[in-house]
Structures are given as structure tokens and as C-alpha cells.
Symmetry: C2
Subunit: 220 residues, 2 copies
Amino acid sequence: MTDQAAFQRARSAQAKQARETAILDAARDLAGRRGIREVTLTDIAAEVGMHKSALLRYFETREQIFLDLTAEGWREWSAALCADLAQHEQAAPAVVADAFAATLSARPMFCDLLAQAPLNLERNVSTEAVRAFKLVTLEEVARIGGELHRLLDLTEAQAVDTLATATSMAGALWQMATPGPLLRQLYTSDPRLGHALVEVEPRLRRVLTALLIGLRAGTP
Amino acid sequence: MTDQAAFQRARSAQAKQARETAILDAARDLAGRRGIREVTLTDIAAEVGMHKSALLRYFETREQIFLDLTAEGWREWSAALCADLAQHEQAAPAVVADAFAATLSARPMFCDLLAQAPLNLERNVSTEAVRAFKLVTLEEVARIGGELHRLLDLTEAQAVDTLATATSMAGALWQMATPGPLLRQLYTSDPRLGHALVEVEPRLRRVLTALLIGLRAGTP
């Protein structure tokens, strides 16, 4: 390859990356304002100022864009959680559960994505896109699992169960906690439906505290 | 009201109920064969031999049909679980967790519905349909909660947390366990992706056993 060709290729790769970043930024902004379920590919294309057919040269589907944001969410959340856990030389289950609940509930879009990924996102992309996504989550699960082993002496299998519970519950509870204005009004106006109003952080903290205590006690 | 009018009204109510039952049966059959996400309102209408517009006189939306099946699923699962738990005068957390995991994993369509309800079903029906659905779930939560109190001395709040965990995890794990043939092949062919292959029953049993042990130990 000549210097000229190498330069052209680098510049083209750089331009492609800039476009992808702009598309992800637009999707993130729109989803932050409206919620993921309300954002279409046409909306994203309009926000970034591209034609939809041009956008499809960078991402296969709407779902691939949001699966990429889910991978980004895993990296960002894992870094924040591990930074939090790294401050402790040792920690009781409640302290670890608190770190999980606080960092997850502070990331509402990530919670939404965690529920959408297995139901919708992973089913509307290529297997290569799923492979890339799964490799990111595996890496972050291993990183967080290392902290759970260091602080609470959890085995790898126990750490994987804890992460599956934390992320699945964060996704499901977030869906219940944000039912939209009409249902929220129903739940507050009918005293029988008090249970339907869910708060993500305290419930996640309670469930994970009990889970970690139970895992440390060992299963009989 | 004359006898004649009363008779007409009763017959018409009976006919309406028969139609509704036929529609729910058709939706249940189709979902059992294909999975809920693949079943449209047009499919259900064709299966029951009605025009789509006629079907809409009985149910508001496709989602109302599946929300009704979710309510039915709650009643049927709760009865099976409570019958199972009622056989014990006392039971260790692992025995109770086992009953939850066995009865939930034996009901794959209910697991699928448990994940779909807060994400999709409750958002595409009238508030009255959601109210009716929530009242069914509250009743069954109270019934199962009574068994958890009797066997493990859980408080009402602890029972509600346990049920939220059991049903949310059953829904999320079922979605992960049934990724479709292409992804299943990816997960079995790439040794790095072993973690992506999830089995609902053993993981649910492990998580709920630890949760119940931790709840009984009390949160520090």
C-alpha cells in the first residue's frame, strides 16, 4: 500500500467512525428524551441529518444502534460500579448491594436497554452483532465478578447469578416503575393498586442484599 | 325486564363469553406453537374464523388478548404453586425455591408473558384493562404471600419482593434461554459464549434459594 492509499484509507475509516458516533449520539439523545420504545430509525436519521438509506450503511437495523448503546452502557456502568467497589477493602453484602442499586438506578436508559436487549434488540440484528455484544458483556461480567470474589468471596458461578439478577431485575423494575402517565395516574388514584407503583432503587437494594447474604451463607 | 328480554340478554352474554373463550383459545394455541412475539391479531382472527374487525368488538387490541392470557396464567400458576406448598407443614428455603422454579419453568408461555406484560402488553390497552389485570395479580400475590408467611415467616413486604424477583427473573431468563435457532447455534459454536446459554430452572432455583435464606437471616 502506498502512503497515499494508507492515508486515504485512514481518513475514510475516521470519517466512518465519526458518522457512527454521530448516529449513536443522536439515538442516545432521542431515547433520553422519549424512551427507547418511541424512537424509530427515521427519527434517528432526521436527528443526525441523514437519509434513512444512508444511515443503513452504518447500522443494519434500529436494534443494532440500541444494542451498541447497550454495550456502551455495560462498559460505562461496570467502570462506575468497579470504581465504587474498589474503594472498599472489605464490604458487607448490604454495602455491595447498595453500590449495585445506586449505580443501576442512576442509569435509567441502561435499565430500559437491559430489558429490551433479550426481548427485542438481540432478535433483530445479525449473529455477528450479537457476538460482539455478548463479548463486551462477558468481559464486564468477569471484571465485576472479580470484585465480588475479592469482597465477598463469591465463586464465579455465584457472581454470574448475582449479575444476572441485578441486571434482569433492574430492567424489569425500571419497566414497572415507568408505566407512562396514564397508568401512573391509575395506580395513584386506585388505593388497591399501590403495589403496582414500584421504586427501582430500594427494591433492588433489598433483593440484592438478601441474595448476597444467602449466597455467602451457602445453599443447604 | 320481561322474561323474554332477560332470556335474550342471558343468551347474548353467553354467546359473547363463548366468542371470547374461542379467541383466547386460538391465541393460546398460536402462541404455544410460535411464541407470543410472532402472533398478530390477523393470525388470531384467521385461527378463530372471524374477520379482524369483528374480533375487535371483543378485545381492544392484540395486547389485551395476551394480557388476559397473562391474568389466566397468574391464576393457574398460583393455584399449582400453592397446592404444591400446601403439602408442606414446614419447608426450608431450598424446598420453597424449588417449588417456584419447577412450577414457573414448566410454564414457558407464562414466563414469556411475564416479560412481555410490563414492556409491551400493559402499554397498549385501556387503563380499565390494566386495572382488571393488576387486581388479579394482587389477589394471587396475596395468596402466595400467605404461604410464604406460613412456611418461612416472611413479612408481606418480603413476600412481595420474593414474588417480584421470581416472576421478573422467570420472564428475563426465559427470554435468554430461547434466543431462536440462529443465536442458539452461535452460542454453542463459539466457546467464549457459553455463559449466554441460560437454563431457566436451575438458575431460578439457585437465585431464589439464596434470596429466601438471606431474607430469613434479616438484612443487617
